[in-house]
Structures are given as structure tokens and as C-alpha cells.
């Protein structure tokens, strides 16, 4: 694998000396740092063999959405575990997965298009919602609220982002129209509950949750869609109403998320191309690069305590663990960790840290003999210290893995998503 961040666009293989630990035909990647815009990274020239490896993993990961979505409703299960409810966010990722699978030729266009259309139609007409916001978890059979879950602002945003992106990739009039209807009916302004910040959600029994998106987090996608709405937009001031707390770890300055979980630095980037956007001097692409490097540094610093962590096994992020689902993370942030690593953590940072992430990916891939790789790609997490490997896959983790590999390879999601009018409106209203 070869990766370089260069000041001039030239092809380079800085990993030539490491061929002993890497397969032949290493990834040749070119990252150009434009002198005019320090954040304008451009990827190019991935070696065919590495591209093939990444596409194979992406395809296996996409299989989750084809096999674990309901045949009639299109709703995607939260987990591969039996009895799992559907996750509205995973369903959104699934919509993109179908569109990409069609683009890649893994399925026919008509089959993928019909899946998207069926899912969107069901969401529009049958899936339970409140002012356009969906419940976090719903029954895959009938779209009704499951397990007393909340009407979720972030999960609805991820669903809508997926719907709009899939519709844009397909360019089909009908799916575009339905996705537009779903988006336009959402009363984003209502989700403020009269404050300057967006609430995490709402429950019929108790009203708005007492938690608000008040600091840097994965909610950037929610902010973008809310501010880009032409039907129920919140006031533009909400963009500046959340905190951008900065801290430093091992020389990496990061506007950090409370948990320090890698997914918070990745989810919005699955859709939004932040490379050219600057928010009050902050470039969130660069920020995610620094957060990823800090996460790796934290793992290395802790590698004496946990056998799981190493230079090729890192990436603390929310995942299953030996004792249940946890918001694992690194510094800066809470840094909850117990030696559990989710492969999607490092892999979904491929666009940020191609070299480091690809090394980790290869290392995990070699672990396939140890049950880490299965029919849907990498299982959710593993913990060497506890001799534990998750026996399931989670929908949203599959989704972020697939979209970020796709963005790394061809920037497909970014290209289409950034064309959306709502995104242009958000950029304009937030002054990015």
C-alpha cells in the first residue's frame, strides 16, 4: 500500500520499504494538497489489486442490506441478530447501498431502483412518524414504533440523507419525487422545541428528550438537512448555537466529540464532502484526519495494557463489546475503552488516513481465519484480550463502512450529495 500527502501531484510509493508486511501490488494512492486551498484533498491512482480488495469488501458489506431488509417494507434490520427491529438510519444507508450496487453492476438497475422505490413509498405512506421524523427503531414488518424508541432527529436525518442521495444517483423521477416529499414534510423547526439547538428526539409519553445537539458530533448531517430545508427550516442561528470544543492529544488538535468515538467524525462525511468547506476556520475533513490520528495514537499509547491495540489494530468507536453496546472512544473525549476494536472504525477513516486505515484493513482481513470476516464483511467488533469476536453485524456500521470505501475509491456519495439543492442552501445559510 502506498499513500502520500504531497504538495505536488506526483505518483509515489512510500511503502516500498515495507513490502515484507504488505501484499504485493500495494495501494498506490495520491493525495494532493492544493497550495491554494489547504483542505482540497484529491485522491487518485489506487493500485488495481488494492481497488479489487476494497471493492470485494464493499460488495460483501452491501450484501447485508440486500439480505437483511424486509421484502415488502424494505426496512433494514438494525442487527443481523434474529429478532432485531429495523433501524431507520440503517434503512437510509441501505438505500445508498442499492444505488451503489447498481452503479457497480452488482445488481441490475431495475432491481435496485425498485427496492429504493418500494422502501421510499412504504416510508412515506406506512412507516410511523411524527412531523416527518421517524422512530429510531421500527418493526421491519409494519413500520410501527418498536421497543418504546424515540422519534429520532439524527436517525431520521441519516435516512433522509440516504433517500436523497439514492434518488440523486438513480436520477429517477419517481424516487426523486418521493424522497423530496419525505424531506419536505419534516418539520425541522419543531425539533428545536423553542430552543436554538436541535433536540435528540421526542417520545409520545414524555415529549422532547432533555438532550440537545449542543456540541460537535455526528449531527452535522442533521444540521445540513435542517438548514437546507425549504419547507420547515429552523433559523440560521442554530448553526452557531452548538459548541466547537477544541482539545489536543499527542500533537493532534481536534474539535472533538464528547465520546471521542470515531463514528462521530465519519457519519456526516459519508454524505457531505467537507474538503472544501471552512466553518469559522475549521475544516471538518482535516478535523477528522486529526481525530483519526489522535485515536490511533491513543490506541498505541494504551497498547501495553490491551493486546488488541497495535499499529494495525486501532480505531475506537461505538460498537458491540463483550459486555454490550458501548460508545468506545479515544482522546480527546471521554475515551471509554476496554480493548474492543470495531474494524469499521479504521476502515471508515480511509478518506482521512488512507495509509493507516488500509494497513489496519489488511490486518483485519488477515484475521478472517479467526472469524472476523464473514458473509457481510467484517463482523462488528473484536477484543483479543477477552478472546471475543462479535457474532453479528450492525446495519449502521455496515453502512458507514460501505459509503466511506465508496468515497475513498471514487467519491461517489460526495459527488452526488453535494449537487443537492438543499446542501447548497445549507452551505449558503451557514456561511461555509
Amino acid at each position: 500500500m502506498t499513500v502520500a500527502r504531497l504538495k505536488a501531484p506526483r505518483r509515489i510509493n512510500i511503502f516500498r520499504s515495507r513490502l515484507k508486511v504488505l501484499p504485493a501490488g500495494g495501494l498506490i494512492l495520491l493525495v494532493i494538497l492544493s497550495p491554494l486551498c489547504p483542505s482540497q484533498h484529491v485522491f487518485a491512482a489506487i493500485a488495481p489489486k488494492d481497488r479489487e480488495t476494497l471493492l470485494r469488501i464493499e460488495k460483501d458489506t452491501a450484501r447485508y442490506f440486500f439480505e437483511l431488509s424486509h421484502a415488502t417494507t424494505g426496512l433494514v434490520k438494525d442487527s443481523s441478530r434474529q429478532g432485531s427491529p429495523a433501524s431507520i438510519a440503517a434503512t437510509g444507508f441501505g438505500l445508498v447501498a442499492y444505488a451503489i450496487a447498481s452503479e457497480r453492476g452488482w445488481t441490475s438497475r431495475s432491481q435496485a431502483y425498485n427496492r429504493v422505490k418500494k422502501t421510499l413509498k412504504f416510508a412515506l405512506t406506512q412507516t410511523e412518524h411524527k412531523k416527518g421524523f421517524f422512530y429510531h427503531f421500527v418493526s421491519p414488518h409494519n413500520g410501527k414504533r418498536a421497543w418504546g424508541s424515540e422519534v429520532s432527529s439524527i436517525d431520521t436525518a441519516l435516512f433522509i440523507a440516504g433517500a436523497l442521495l439514492a434518488a440523486e444517483i438513480f436520477s429517477g423521477e419517481e424516487v426523486k419525487r418521493i424522497a423530496g416529499q419525505l424531506y419536505d414534510r419534516i418539520d425541522w423547526n419543531w425539533m428545536r422545541n423553542g430552543t436554538d439547538q436541535l433536540s435528540h428526539g421526542w417520545k409520545p409519553e414524555s415529549g422532547f428528550l432533555p438532550y440537545y445537539w449542543d456540541s460537535y458530533n455526528e449531527h452535522l448531517i442533521l444540521q445540513a438537512l435542517a438548514l437546507g430545508s425549504k419547507t420547515h427550516p429552523p433559523p440560521a442561528k442554530i448553526w452557531n448555537a452548538w459548541h466547537r470544543l477544541e482539545d489536543e492529544y499527542e500533537g493532534h488538535k481536534v474539535v472533538y466529540a464528547h465520546t471521542g468515538s470515531l463514528f462521530t467524525y465519519q457519519f456526516p462525511h459519508a454524505f457531505i464532502d467537507f474538503r472544501t468547506l471552512s466553518d469559522q476556520g475549521i475544516n471538518y475533513f482535516d478535523n477528522s484526519v486529526q481525530a483519526t490520528l489522535a485515536n490511533k495514537a491513543f490506541c498505541l499509547q494504551q497498547s501495553g495494557k490491551y493486546k488488541t491495540y497495535s499499529a494495525v489494530s486501532w480505531g475506537l468507536t461505538a460498537s458491540l463489546g463483550p459486555n454490550g453496546y458501548r460508545a468506545y472512544g479515544a482522546r480527546p473525549g471521554l475515551a471509554l475503552h476496554d480493548g474492543t476494536i470495531a474494524p469499521y472504525g479504521a476502515i471508515s477513516s480511509l478518506p482521512f488516513t488512507p495509509q493507516e486505515s488500509y494497513e489496519a484493513l489488511l490486518s483485519y482481513y488477515k484475521e478472517s481465519e479467526k472469524r472476523l470476516y464473514g458473509k457481510y464483511g467484517f463482523r462488528d467488533a473484536f477484543n483479543v484480550d477477552e478472546n471475543w469476536v462479535a457474532d453479528e453485524w450492525l446495519g449502521v456500521d455496515q453502512g458507514i463502512t460501505m459509503l466511506m470505501i465508496e468515497n475513498f475509491l471514487d467519491q461517489t456519495c460526495w459527488k452526488y450529495f453535494m449537487k443537492l439543492d438543499c446542501i447548497k442552501r445549507w452551505i449558503q445559510r451557514s456561511g461555509l
Binding site: 434474529q82 429478532g83 432485531s84 424508541s149 435528540h200 438532550y211 454490550g324
Partner: protein, 213 residues
């Protein structure tokens, strides 16, 4: 022949016949008992395992427990209230433990059943030997007695043990032998009084074929 306690020393009195009967009975008994054990074993264990590992209930509990984890993972700054649902996370471990326990119990049961089946086979063999002995012994005795009658020994009497099959047949046989012997004995006494020398000799010769007391 005086009545005397009759004890057989040899259990395989007619080896060929007795072994044939033993084989027939053994196969029948083993088939019936084997089928019963098979049906009961899987029937009972099947229901027990079903009762103790209702997957749908387990998955529902796990899902409910997972939701509480999700909530807290998303809002770790919130106060984590005690939820009994969290206890059900252990359901998965419990299920794994259940599977181990069942595996253990079944291995132990299988071992015990193996020895029990061995003992059952020994018991069935011994029992069929005993049963067939009770049938084959008397038949053999009757056969021997009849052969002696055929050879002219009318003094022969058969005696079976109490509880043997065919005791009544043997008694009938003894009655028949008694009657024959009595008739022949009488004829022997009357024979010398016949005055037709050639006929008399022939009659006596014929009667002397029979041995009487």
C-alpha cells in the same frame, strides 16, 4: 417311576432350538425396548430443550437490553438509570451456558444409557435363556419319553419342574404311558393262555417288544 425333585443341570438342553427361540425373543424385545427408548429419549429431551431455550423470548429480551445500551451510548452524559432490562443482556450468556449445560447433561445421559443398554442386553439374553429353557426343557423331555415309548419301554414317565411349561402335557403323556403299560402287561399275562401255538408265539413275541414293570 417315583416322583422326585427334578432339577436340570444343563440350561441349554436343546441348543439349536433354544438358541433359535432365544434369538427370536431377543430381537423382538430389543426392537420394542430400543424403539421405546429412542422415542422417549428424543421426545422428552426435545420438549425439555424447547422449554428452556425459547429463542424468540431470548431475542426479545436481548433486543430490549440492547436498546438501553444504545440510549446510553448515544447520551453517555445522561444519568444512567437502573433498568431491569439490562439484566437480560446476560440472556445471551445464559443461553450459551444453557447450551453447555444441556451438552453436558446429554453426554452424561448418553454414557449412562450406554451402560444401561448393555445391562438391558445382558438381562434380555439371560431372561430369554430362562424362558426358552422353561419351554425347550419340557419339549425335550417329552421328545425323549416318546422316543423311549417308540422303542418299547412302556415304563418311561416324564417329570417336569414346577412352573415348567407343558406340565399338563407331560401328565397326559404319563397317563397314556401308564394306560399302555397296563394294557400290555395284561395282554402279556393273558398271552400264554392262548391255545393256538403259532398265533400264541406271534402274540407273545409282539408283546415282549414292550418293556413293562
Amino acid at each position: 417311576m417315583a416322583n422326585r425333585p427334578y432339577k436340570r443341570r444343563q440350561y441349554l438342553v436343546n441348543k439349536k432350538m433354544q438358541v433359535r427361540y432365544m434369538a427370536m425373543i431377543c430381537v423382538a424385545l430389543l426392537f420394542v425396548s430400543g424403539f421405546s427408548i429412542f422415542a422417549m429419549y428424543f421426545g422428552i429431551w426435545g420438549s425439555v430443550i424447547d422449554e428452556f431455550s425459547d429463542e424468540s423470548v431470548r431475542y426479545q429480551l436481548l433486543t430490549a437490553a440492547r436498546q438501553t445500551d444504545y440510549e446510553y451510548a448515544r447520551r453517555p452524559f445522561s444519568e444512567r438509570r437502573f433498568s431491569t432490562l439490562a439484566l437480560f443482556k446476560e440472556t445471551d450468556l445464559l443461553s450459551m451456558r444453557q447450551r453447555e449445560i444441556f451438552k453436558d447433561i446429554m453426554a452424561r445421559t448418553n454414557r449412562r444409557l450406554f451402560w444401561q443398554l448393555g445391562l438391558l442386553a445382558i438381562f434380555v439374553t439371560a431372561w430369554t435363556m430362562f424362558i426358552t429353557h422353561r419351554i425347550a426343557g419340557p419339549l425335550y423331555r417329552i421328545d425323549q419319553c416318546m422316543k423311549k415309548i417308540a422303542s418299547g419301554d412302556l415304563t418311561v414317565r416324564g417329570h417336569l419342574r414346577k412352573g415348567d411349561q407343558a406340565v399338563e402335557i407331560m401328565e397326559t403323556f404319563n397317563g397314556m404311558a401308564e394306560s399302555l403299560e397296563s394294557s400290555v402287561k395284561r395282554l402279556k399275562q393273558l398271552g400264554p393262555q392262548v391255545n393256538l401255538p403259532p398265533v400264541k408265539d406271534q402274540i407273545l413275541n409282539e408283546l415282549n417288544r414292550f418293556h413293562t414293570s
